[in-house]
């Protein structure tokens, strides 16, 4: 049975939950056992969001520490919230884009330099994929679809499901923005597959 554990993080409004739900829906469609946990917290008001998608025979909705094959973060600094779940040598897929908070907008030094974040990640793994998802989403015509772009990039190296299932799941998650989301997904997919990723 397919076994895969994925932790996701980002900020409220970025669409982490949608990515988690798309993967869970694709799993359901292919009869792959799935356990999904949506950690919404105080997301609506600027807080962090995390999600766990567990494929296969798992009991706990929370991924054990060091138990995730990969983590996806929609905002680079938010990796800090889920890195403990990644197994040593696992894959990090991170949007290189940053979202500042109140304090770091006023005092930029409060936001960690990218090198420091990479240094921290390297304590766990060297498999780091930094994706310029903000730019890619914009290129695909939808700055809001950073989440789909990241999902596309991740999927290019982790074909967990058939493209049919993913496409269906994306369309089903939001019929109104289906086209835009698919475009963003494909942009991320192409980027990671063809142009390679930094690091």
């Amino acid at each position: 049975m397919k076994q895969f554990n994925l932790a996701l993080s980002g900020l409220g409004g970025q669409g982490i939950m949608t990515v988690s739900q798309v993967l869970a829906a694709a799993a359901a469609r292919e009869n792959v056992r799935v356990l999904l946990f949506e950690g919404t917290g105080i997301s609506q008001r600027g807080g962090g969001v995390f999600g766990f998608v567990r494929l296969g025979d798992s009991s706990s909705p929370k991924i054990p520490i060091n138990g995730a094959e990969a983590v996806i973060s929609l905002e680079i600094s938010e990796i800090a919230g889920v890195i403990q779940y990644l197994r040593p040598g696992g894959e990090v897929w991170a949007n290189s884009g940053r979202i500042h908070g109140y304090y770091s907008k006023l005092h930029p030094h409060l936001y960690p330099a990218e090198e420091k974040i990479i240094e921290m990640i390297k304590l766990k793994t060297g498999q780091i994929h930094l994706i310029p998802a903000d730019r890619l989403a914009e290129e695909a015509g939808s700055a809001q679809a950073v989440n789909m772009t990241m999902l596309g990039a991740f999927s290019s190296k982790n074909p967990l499901f058939n493209m049919d299932s993913i496409t269906w799941a994306i369309e089903d998650s939001n019929k109104k923005f289906a086209e835009k989301n698919l475009k963003a997904f494909r942009r991320g997919f192409e980027f990671a597959k063809n142009e390679g990723t930094s690091e």
């Binding site: 900020l11 600027g46 706990s60 909705p61 054990p64 060091n66 938010e78 109140y102 770091s104």
Partner: protein
């Protein structure tokens, strides 16, 4: 709505991917429920939200004015013989508790289920209370499902059990469970057609004198015992050759499974699907069989205490590991590591996995960006608290001299930077009463209470009546954004758009305030800062109780309806830069749409801006 999530579907052969909240909702539908009500309360809210997506299945579902009323209305439905369910978060159960205890003692007719959600580890910021205590207080049976599938199955069972013992049955879930989704097998949807009927029987339905009340108590205790007999199968006991036993309540069962599977452990186990009454006989059997018992339960050591009490009856020493006697914590929630850290040392030949490097956890913590939990971009509350701080400054008060009480909901975010305008938060409606208390203590300077519109209707009315009746000179600001927003923008009795669409009667809070005996009432749009500041100054300076309605719709709700709102722009030639500008827009307002742009100048994110105009007003350079 996604096709995946039609919880009303008659198609039974396809499992649905459902969260425990959604599964509970489906369980209610399958049980032929007639009426579901509650009050929005994270993490229970989604149960009713799910039911609201399937309005035409023959049952009635609606939000109520507060949990106590919700409970009582649901009781009426049950007493007339039909099935009802009421949902709430833990604090909501506190509100409904008066009705809970009384109705539990009276008993019910049609099945009645009470769904309460706790929040161990306070993911949502609230009191970390263990609602299992209510089951004990009210002599009420309580089920604790461990998975979305169990949420559905237990709920179906709960309705049947409720009708068999003629008492309400409680179901408890927690944040993590409520937000967990899995493929759930559906069952047939019952169709229950009953004629409503109700008899005169004051011995049952009233508290008709000491003898009747005593009998009610005895009958309720007996009903609980019967419930225990009927639910033996919900507490599976597995005895193995091991001398180590583990009792796991609710969701902790899942963490236990993860650990025993990963490390191939084979302890004796007792899964608790029933929190109250506890299966004493099974616990006794387990204790007889083992030398060591580990008790896994989140929050209070209720099971642990019961185990310790029973241990005295066992003829050999049994070590009990939990919170009282052991490393497990009362506060916070559990996870896989919680269980493995206490379990693996008991199996010396099993090895604990690699521990994450200490410097990783430390480094990760150090790199976490401190984020401000604040109002959404364009929120009218931002405008209100900004105006309030300005009004106090113009009146010559020091911020630290003027107590401002806060209440539950989005309004409480005024306590954070950059406003620091709410000093307190107790429970629904308390801001007004607390303010009165400060005045009675002798605080001479103005005391101000802030409260939301939904919260005011829920619980603020009696407090306002009490303050006005006693001629207490406080200023009450009702931040009226027309919705119960913090929980996900639910309507309440004062939500005009909703009321008219549903042909419900709109309730106007202003009329209630007037009837409560308040003569000084204002209603101002907070975005009109030039009007709001002097209004607040006048209200605060008034010699008698004053109420200011700060009236503007929740920005998110408005945006959902009114498209194309536009956005504001910073004129870079006029902006002197965030570092040079002491009273800059970001510092003063903390709006997420305001960003640090090129050359450290302010920049407005066009995707995030909701065009409220507040930054335009505050910019000292006139650059917006």
């Amino acid at each position: 709505m996604s096709d995946q999530k039609n919880i009303g579907t008659p198609i039974l052969d396809t499992p649905l991917l459902l969260s425990a909240n959604q599964a509970l909702a489906r369980g209610a539908i399958e049980s032929g429920v007639a009426y579901v009500t509650g009050y929005p309360g994270t993490p229970s809210t989604d149960a009713i939200e799910a039911l609201l997506t399937v309005p035409d299945l023959g049952f009635k579902v609606e939000w109520s004015i507060n949990e106590k009323v919700a409970f009582e209305v649901a009781t009426g439905v049950s007493w007339a013989g039909l099935r009802s369910m009421v949902t709430m978060k833990m604090s909501g159960l506190n509100v409904a508790s008066d009705a809970l205890v009384s109705v539990q003692y009276s008993g019910t007719n049609g099945g009645m289920v009470i769904y309460v959600a706790d929040d161990p580890n306070t993911y949502y910021g609230m009191v970390e209370q263990d609602s299992r205590h209510y089951a004990r207080l009210a002599v009420a049976p309580m089920l604790t499902p461990s998975s979305p599938q169990e949420a559905l199955d237990f709920l179906r069972r709960a309705f049947d059990l409720s009708e068999e013992i003629k008492r309400p049955v409680m179901i408890l879930m927690t944040t993590v469970l409520a937000n967990t989704s899995e493929m759930v097998k559906l069952g047939k949807i019952k169709s229950i057609t009953r004629e409503p009927t109700f008899d005169f029987d004051i011995a049952r339905y009233a508290k008709a004198g000491p003898a009747a009340c005593l009998q009610q108590h005895l009958d309720t205790v007996a009903s609980l015992e019967k419930f225990g007999e009927l639910t033996d199968d919900l507490n599976p006991l597995t005895l193995t050759e091991s001398r180590i036993g583990i009792i796991a309540a609710g969701i902790t069962w899942n963490y236990l499974q993860e650990v025993t599977k990963a490390h191939l452990l084979n302890p004796c186990t007792l899964k608790l699907g029933v929190a109250h009454p506890l299966p004493q006989a099974k616990i006794r059997t387990l204790l007889t069989h083992v030398d060591t018992v580990v008790v896994l339960e989140e929050l209070d050591p209720l099971v642990e205490e019961a185990v310790l009490a029973l241990r005295g009856e066992i003829d050999h020493p049994v070590k009990v590991i939990g919170k009282l006697n052991g490393p497990l914590s009362i506060a916070g929630d559990y996870n896989v590591e919680t269980v493995s850290s206490v379990l693996l040392p008991l199996f010396p030949d099993k090895v604990l996995g690699p521990v994450p490097a200490d410097d990783l956890s430390q480094q990760a913590q150090a790199l976490k960006v401190k984020r401000l939990v604040t109002f959404c971009a364009g929120c009218p509350h931002r405008a209100t608290y900004y105006a309030l701080n300005q009004a106090l400054e113009k009146l010559g008060y020091r911020k630290s001299d003027i107590i401002i009480t806060g209440d539950i909901g989005c309004t409480i975010l005024g306590m954070n930077d950059p406003f620091q305008s709410c000093w307190t938060e107790i429970c629904m409606g308390s801001s007004i009463s607390l303010a009165q208390g400060f005045k009675y203590a002798g605080i001479e300077k103005p005391v101000i209470a802030t409260i939301g519109d939904g919260t005011f209707l829920h619980a603020g009315i009696p407090a306002l009546i009490n303050a006005a009746h006693n001629r207490c000179n406080i200023t009450v600001i009702i931040l009226d954004n027309h919705w119960a927003s913090m929980t996900g923008m639910q309507p309440h009795a004062g939500t005009e758009i909703f009321s008219s669409a549903q042909s419900k009667q709109l309730i106007k809070a202003e009329e209630i305030v007037r009837a409560a005996g308040v003569h000084r009432i204002w209603r101002v749009n907070p975005y009109q800062t030039k009007k709001m500041i002097p209004t607040l100054m006048e209200a605060i300076s008034s010699p008698e109780i004053s109420v200011v309605f700060s009236d503007a719709e929740c920005a998110i709700q408005k945006k959902r309806r009114v498209k194309g709102g536009g956005y504001l722009k910073v004129k870079p030639e006029k902006c002197v830069g965030l570092d040079a500008c002491e009273h800059n827009c970001i510092k003063l307002l903390g709006c997420s749409a305001l960003e640090r742009g090129d050359e450290a100048k302010a920049f407005i994110n066009p995707h995030a801006c909701n065009a409220c105009g507040l930054c335009h007003h505050v910019c000292p350079q006139g650059a917006i």
